[in-house]
Assembly symmetry: C2
Homo-oligomer: 110 residues x 2
DNA sequence: TTTGTCTATTGCAATATTACGATTAATAAA
DNA sequence: TTTATTAATCGTAATATTGCAATAGACAAA
Protein backbone atom coordinates (compact mmCIF):
# COMPACT_ATOMS: atom_id res chain seq x y z
CA UNK A 1 0.00 0.00 0.00
CA UNK A 2 2.83 2.39 0.77
CA UNK A 3 0.66 4.12 3.36
CA UNK A 4 1.31 3.55 7.06
CA UNK A 5 -1.75 2.74 9.17
CA UNK A 6 -1.04 5.50 11.66
CA UNK A 7 -4.43 5.13 13.34
CA UNK A 8 -3.21 1.89 14.89
CA UNK A 9 -0.46 3.65 16.82
CA UNK A 10 -0.13 6.21 19.59
CA UNK A 11 0.67 9.87 18.92
CA UNK A 12 4.04 9.26 20.50
CA UNK A 13 4.84 6.37 18.18
CA UNK A 14 3.70 8.32 15.12
CA UNK A 15 5.73 11.34 16.12
CA UNK A 16 8.91 9.35 16.68
CA UNK A 17 8.46 7.71 13.27
CA UNK A 18 7.81 11.07 11.59
CA UNK A 19 10.94 12.61 13.06
CA UNK A 20 13.10 9.58 12.35
CA UNK A 21 11.89 9.48 8.77
CA UNK A 22 13.40 12.87 7.99
CA UNK A 23 16.82 11.56 9.04
CA UNK A 24 16.31 8.53 6.84
CA UNK A 25 18.01 10.07 3.82
CA UNK A 26 21.74 10.83 3.64
CA UNK A 27 21.17 14.13 1.81
CA UNK A 28 19.14 15.50 4.72
CA UNK A 29 21.75 14.22 7.17
CA UNK A 30 24.43 15.98 5.12
CA UNK A 31 22.47 19.24 4.96
CA UNK A 32 21.98 19.28 8.72
CA UNK A 33 25.62 18.40 9.41
CA UNK A 34 26.73 21.22 7.14
CA UNK A 35 24.44 23.75 8.81
CA UNK A 36 25.82 22.80 12.21
CA UNK A 37 29.39 22.81 10.99
CA UNK A 38 29.41 26.33 9.61
CA UNK A 39 27.19 27.45 12.49
CA UNK A 40 25.51 30.16 10.47
CA UNK A 41 23.25 30.64 7.49
CA UNK A 42 23.87 28.91 4.22
CA UNK A 43 22.82 30.92 1.23
CA UNK A 44 22.66 28.95 -1.94
CA UNK A 45 25.77 26.84 -1.93
CA UNK A 46 24.08 23.68 -0.64
CA UNK A 47 23.55 22.45 -4.20
CA UNK A 48 27.29 22.65 -4.89
CA UNK A 49 28.20 21.09 -1.56
CA UNK A 50 25.83 18.12 -1.71
CA UNK A 51 26.00 17.40 -5.42
CA UNK A 52 22.36 16.78 -6.16
CA UNK A 53 20.28 18.86 -8.56
CA UNK A 54 18.77 22.12 -7.33
CA UNK A 55 15.14 20.92 -7.34
CA UNK A 56 16.17 17.84 -5.36
CA UNK A 57 17.92 19.89 -2.69
CA UNK A 58 14.96 22.24 -2.56
CA UNK A 59 12.69 19.24 -1.94
CA UNK A 60 14.86 17.96 0.92
CA UNK A 61 15.00 21.46 2.42
CA UNK A 62 11.20 21.65 2.33
CA UNK A 63 10.92 18.43 4.33
CA UNK A 64 13.31 19.78 6.95
CA UNK A 65 11.37 23.04 7.01
CA UNK A 66 8.06 21.19 7.41
CA UNK A 67 9.33 19.70 10.66
CA UNK A 68 10.71 23.15 11.52
CA UNK A 69 14.17 21.75 12.09
CA UNK A 70 15.55 24.50 9.85
CA UNK A 71 14.54 28.06 9.12
CA UNK A 72 14.76 29.90 5.80
CA UNK A 73 15.22 33.62 5.56
CA UNK A 74 14.94 35.46 2.24
CA UNK A 75 18.05 37.51 1.60
CA UNK A 76 17.76 39.32 -1.68
CA UNK A 77 17.50 36.75 -4.47
CA UNK A 78 18.83 33.94 -2.33
CA UNK A 79 17.47 32.21 0.75
CA UNK A 80 19.51 31.65 3.88
CA UNK A 81 18.99 28.46 5.83
CA UNK A 82 19.96 27.73 9.38
CA UNK A 83 19.15 25.34 12.20
CA UNK A 84 16.12 26.02 14.36
CA UNK A 85 17.81 25.25 17.67
CA UNK A 86 14.59 25.30 19.70
CA UNK A 87 12.92 22.66 17.56
CA UNK A 88 16.13 20.68 17.37
CA UNK A 89 16.17 20.45 21.16
CA UNK A 90 12.52 19.40 21.29
CA UNK A 91 13.16 16.72 18.69
CA UNK A 92 16.24 15.52 20.53
CA UNK A 93 14.28 15.01 23.73
CA UNK A 94 11.67 12.89 21.95
CA UNK A 95 14.17 10.74 20.09
CA UNK A 96 16.55 10.39 23.04
CA UNK A 97 13.72 9.20 25.26
CA UNK A 98 12.98 6.51 22.69
CA UNK A 99 16.62 5.50 22.26
CA UNK A 100 17.23 5.33 26.00
CA UNK A 101 14.47 2.80 26.65
CA UNK A 102 17.24 0.32 27.38
CA UNK A 103 18.52 2.21 30.41
CA UNK A 104 15.76 0.76 32.60
CA UNK A 105 16.26 -2.88 31.82
CA UNK A 106 19.23 -4.43 30.20
CA UNK A 107 18.95 -8.15 30.84
CA UNK A 108 18.95 -10.19 27.72
CA UNK A 109 16.77 -13.29 27.86
CA UNK A 110 17.80 -15.21 24.73
CA UNK B 1 13.73 7.50 -8.98
CA UNK B 2 13.00 6.42 -5.41
CA UNK B 3 16.66 5.49 -5.08
CA UNK B 4 19.00 7.52 -2.90
CA UNK B 5 22.33 8.49 -4.48
CA UNK B 6 24.35 7.05 -1.61
CA UNK B 7 27.65 7.36 -3.49
CA UNK B 8 27.47 11.12 -2.96
CA UNK B 9 27.61 10.77 0.81
CA UNK B 10 30.04 9.58 3.46
CA UNK B 11 29.75 6.16 5.11
CA UNK B 12 28.79 7.94 8.29
CA UNK B 13 25.95 9.83 6.62
CA UNK B 14 24.67 6.70 4.91
CA UNK B 15 24.79 4.71 8.13
CA UNK B 16 22.88 7.35 10.10
CA UNK B 17 20.23 7.44 7.37
CA UNK B 18 19.99 3.65 7.28
CA UNK B 19 19.49 3.40 11.03
CA UNK B 20 17.03 6.29 11.18
CA UNK B 21 15.01 4.78 8.37
CA UNK B 22 14.13 1.72 10.40
CA UNK B 23 12.61 3.96 13.08
CA UNK B 24 10.64 5.78 10.40
CA UNK B 25 7.59 3.55 10.73
CA UNK B 26 5.30 3.52 13.79
CA UNK B 27 4.88 -0.26 13.65
CA UNK B 28 8.61 -0.79 14.13
CA UNK B 29 8.67 1.80 16.89
CA UNK B 30 5.79 -0.04 18.58
CA UNK B 31 7.48 -3.43 18.23
CA UNK B 32 10.68 -2.15 19.82
CA UNK B 33 8.81 -0.38 22.63
CA UNK B 34 6.94 -3.58 23.39
CA UNK B 35 10.09 -5.67 23.45
CA UNK B 36 11.70 -3.24 25.89
CA UNK B 37 8.55 -3.01 28.00
CA UNK B 38 8.17 -6.72 28.65
CA UNK B 39 11.96 -7.07 28.86
CA UNK B 40 11.95 -10.64 27.57
CA UNK B 41 11.10 -12.63 24.50
CA UNK B 42 7.88 -12.18 22.63
CA UNK B 43 6.60 -15.36 21.04
CA UNK B 44 3.86 -14.83 18.53
CA UNK B 45 1.59 -12.27 20.14
CA UNK B 46 3.03 -9.27 18.27
CA UNK B 47 0.36 -9.60 15.58
CA UNK B 48 -2.41 -9.30 18.18
CA UNK B 49 -0.69 -6.46 19.97
CA UNK B 50 0.08 -4.29 16.94
CA UNK B 51 -3.03 -5.00 14.88
CA UNK B 52 -1.47 -5.45 11.48
CA UNK B 53 -1.67 -8.67 9.46
CA UNK B 54 0.81 -11.42 10.18
CA UNK B 55 2.81 -11.05 6.92
CA UNK B 56 3.12 -7.32 7.55
CA UNK B 57 4.48 -7.83 11.05
CA UNK B 58 6.85 -10.48 9.75
CA UNK B 59 8.14 -7.99 7.19
CA UNK B 60 8.78 -5.31 9.83
CA UNK B 61 10.51 -7.87 12.04
CA UNK B 62 12.76 -8.81 9.16
CA UNK B 63 13.88 -5.20 8.73
CA UNK B 64 14.70 -4.95 12.43
CA UNK B 65 16.56 -8.26 12.22
CA UNK B 66 18.53 -7.08 9.18
CA UNK B 67 19.97 -4.24 11.26
CA UNK B 68 20.45 -6.77 14.07
CA UNK B 69 18.50 -4.61 16.50
CA UNK B 70 16.48 -7.68 17.45
CA UNK B 71 17.22 -11.37 17.67
CA UNK B 72 14.87 -14.24 16.83
CA UNK B 73 15.10 -17.63 18.49
CA UNK B 74 13.09 -20.59 17.23
CA UNK B 75 11.07 -22.08 20.09
CA UNK B 76 9.11 -25.04 18.81
CA UNK B 77 6.64 -23.82 16.21
CA UNK B 78 6.89 -20.19 17.26
CA UNK B 79 9.77 -17.71 17.17
CA UNK B 80 10.80 -15.63 20.15
CA UNK B 81 12.02 -12.11 19.53
CA UNK B 82 14.03 -9.92 21.83
CA UNK B 83 16.23 -6.85 21.76
CA UNK B 84 19.88 -7.21 20.80
CA UNK B 85 21.25 -4.96 23.51
CA UNK B 86 24.76 -4.86 22.09
CA UNK B 87 23.65 -3.61 18.71
CA UNK B 88 21.17 -1.27 20.31
CA UNK B 89 24.01 0.39 22.19
CA UNK B 90 26.14 0.69 19.07
CA UNK B 91 23.24 2.25 17.19
CA UNK B 92 22.54 4.63 20.05
CA UNK B 93 26.10 5.93 20.01
CA UNK B 94 25.93 6.67 16.28
CA UNK B 95 22.55 8.39 16.42
CA UNK B 96 23.30 10.30 19.64
CA UNK B 97 26.49 11.66 18.16
CA UNK B 98 24.47 12.98 15.25
CA UNK B 99 21.72 14.44 17.43
CA UNK B 100 24.18 16.14 19.77
CA UNK B 101 25.89 18.14 17.05
CA UNK B 102 24.26 21.20 18.59
CA UNK B 103 26.21 20.87 21.85
CA UNK B 104 29.27 22.51 20.30
CA UNK B 105 27.66 25.62 18.91
CA UNK B 106 24.28 26.97 19.79
CA UNK B 107 24.20 30.52 18.49
CA UNK B 108 21.41 31.16 16.08
CA UNK B 109 22.25 33.59 13.29
CA UNK B 110 18.85 34.33 11.76
C1' DT C 1 0.48 -40.02 9.07
C1' DT C 2 -2.66 -36.43 9.63
C1' DT C 3 -3.97 -32.26 11.63
C1' DG C 4 -3.27 -27.94 13.71
C1' DT C 5 -0.39 -23.94 14.79
C1' DC C 6 2.87 -20.51 13.89
C1' DT C 7 5.98 -17.90 10.95
C1' DA C 8 8.24 -16.83 6.46
C1' DT C 9 7.80 -16.07 1.71
C1' DT C 10 5.59 -14.89 -2.64
C1' DG C 11 2.96 -12.03 -5.47
C1' DC C 12 0.56 -8.10 -6.12
C1' DA C 13 -1.86 -3.49 -5.61
C1' DA C 14 -1.70 1.10 -3.79
C1' DT C 15 0.93 4.74 -2.38
C1' DA C 16 5.35 7.19 -1.21
C1' DT C 17 9.94 8.67 -2.18
C1' DT C 18 13.71 10.21 -4.87
C1' DA C 19 15.60 12.67 -8.61
C1' DC C 20 15.68 15.91 -12.25
C1' DG C 21 14.33 18.75 -16.55
C1' DA C 22 11.49 22.48 -17.51
C1' DT C 23 9.27 26.25 -15.91
C1' DT C 24 7.87 29.95 -12.89
C1' DA C 25 8.41 33.66 -9.49
C1' DA C 26 11.01 37.05 -7.26
C1' DT C 27 14.55 40.12 -6.89
C1' DA C 28 18.99 42.48 -8.26
C1' DA C 29 21.79 44.56 -11.60
C1' DA C 30 22.60 46.70 -15.93
C1' DT D 1 12.91 47.63 -19.20
C1' DT D 2 15.87 43.92 -19.98
C1' DT D 3 18.83 40.53 -18.29
C1' DA D 4 20.82 37.61 -14.85
C1' DT D 5 20.54 35.03 -10.63
C1' DT D 6 18.42 32.21 -7.25
C1' DA D 7 15.04 29.18 -5.35
C1' DA D 8 10.41 27.06 -5.58
C1' DT D 9 7.13 24.43 -8.08
C1' DC D 10 5.33 21.33 -11.67
C1' DG D 11 5.41 17.21 -14.10
C1' DT D 12 7.12 12.86 -14.69
C1' DA D 13 9.93 8.54 -14.49
C1' DA D 14 12.08 5.09 -11.71
C1' DT D 15 12.25 2.80 -7.58
C1' DA D 16 10.87 1.85 -2.66
C1' DT D 17 7.59 1.03 0.90
C1' DT D 18 3.51 -0.68 2.97
C1' DG D 19 -0.03 -4.00 3.50
C1' DC D 20 -2.31 -8.27 2.85
C1' DA D 21 -4.22 -12.71 0.67
C1' DA D 22 -2.48 -16.94 -0.54
C1' DT D 23 0.82 -20.20 0.03
C1' DA D 24 4.68 -22.75 1.82
C1' DG D 25 7.54 -24.61 5.44
C1' DA D 26 8.51 -26.26 10.03
C1' DC D 27 7.28 -28.39 13.98
C1' DA D 28 4.08 -30.44 17.69
C1' DA D 29 0.26 -33.16 18.92
C1' DA D 30 -3.10 -36.54 18.05
Amino acid sequence: MGLAKSELFTNDQNQIALLAKVFGHPARVAILQHLFKINSCVCGDLVTIIGLAQPTISQHLRELKQLQLIKGTIEGTSVCYCINYEKWTTMKIIISKFLNMDSNNSSNCC
